[in-house]
Symmetry: C2
Subunit: 190 residues, 2 copies
């Protein structure tokens, strides 16, 4: 499928953002990477802020939709967690650069978009938290502090994009299997 010029700009900008961060990339940097002048970018986009918000909100919606799908299924807490791990891996593979922007540059979103991003993130975490608490209640999960469990898993899943590229040789399914094993069973042999 052929990209529109606008999409091309967003793809190229996202790669620069991932390397240097949103604030360190100028419109002239983006233009140079496209082989055009900075002012020409404005034939296709409204401004720098639009690039960032498009990138981040697209990924945020992927997470929200994915989580909603998981929640609405009738599964055990552990099965739901496995689905969530799968969701993160899929998004990491398909939206690596957007994920970097979401993790590192969300605070540079303008007021309105920042608010709706934070809302989506909070809702996402709250759904995840509920699943964990449910698992602790029915004794399928260990009785550790739910907040520590939540952040341990989420930290790993959220920074997967930093590692996935280096591990290109590692198959997506093998990665999923190992990650599920490590998070559920731990790394100690017993």
């Amino acid at each position: 499928m052929k990209l529109t010029r606008k999409q091309e700009i967003i793809v190229i900008a996202s790669k620069l953002f991932k390397e240097k961060g949103f604030q360190a990339v100028s419109m002239r940097d983006i233009a140079k990477a496209m082989g055009i002048k900075a002012s020409s970018l404005y034939n296709h986009i409204q401004g720098k802020q639009e690039i960032l918000s498009t990138l981040i909100l697209e990924v945020a919606h992927e997470f929200t939709n994915g989580m909603n799908a998981v929640v609405s299924e009738t599964l055990t807490p552990i099965q739901k967690i496995e689905k969530i791990i799968e969701l993160h891996i899929d998004i990491t593979v398909n939206y690596s650069e957007g994920l970097a922007a979401l993790n590192n540059d969300w605070m540079h979103l303008e007021e309105e978009n920042r608010k709706s991003y934070i809302k989506m993130r909070d809702d996402y975490e709250e759904n995840f938290r509920s699943i964990i608490k449910e698992g602790i209640r029915d004794k399928s999960l260990t009785n550790n502090h739910p907040e520590v469990i939540l952040f341990s898993i989420l930290s790993t899943l959220r920074t997967l994009y930093l590692w996935y590229q280096k591990r290109g040789k590692l198959d997506e399914n093998v990665l999923k299997k190992d990650m599920v094993a490590i998070m559920l069973q731990g790394i100690a042999n017993h």
Copy 2:
């Protein structure tokens, strides 16, 4: 203990960097937070870059020294991993803002400092990797891909600073116990 004016600047700047990132904080922002003019900062520091490098390299040395101490002790791989978790928690508690800079803004270090930071980080990871491989060899650790184990643990430890503040009520020792349990035994009840 009383801080020098230089140290005050670095403390205040680090808090701003943690919120907005290095590039989004101007010397005028830092000065305003200090209640002085931007040019007055130069009576105490060489420039913006010095603030960043001081912050990051200080924390990086903490990690290096801590890891060297762990490696030189005669402990089982699992005991070494516990020590490393402890190390990260300690650094998180004492250098929260520097840790944020290290994680998010290391790429804005100038050539020489960036190189030495990367060297320290690579050495750190290599030491950690060796411990994990040793654990897999002697069967005290599960036979998952060592790289996946490494990144799972390190992701959690490295982003702890993002969560620790919210969980102020959680005692440092309880946190350590839960994190060790989760990483070693997993979260599934068995």
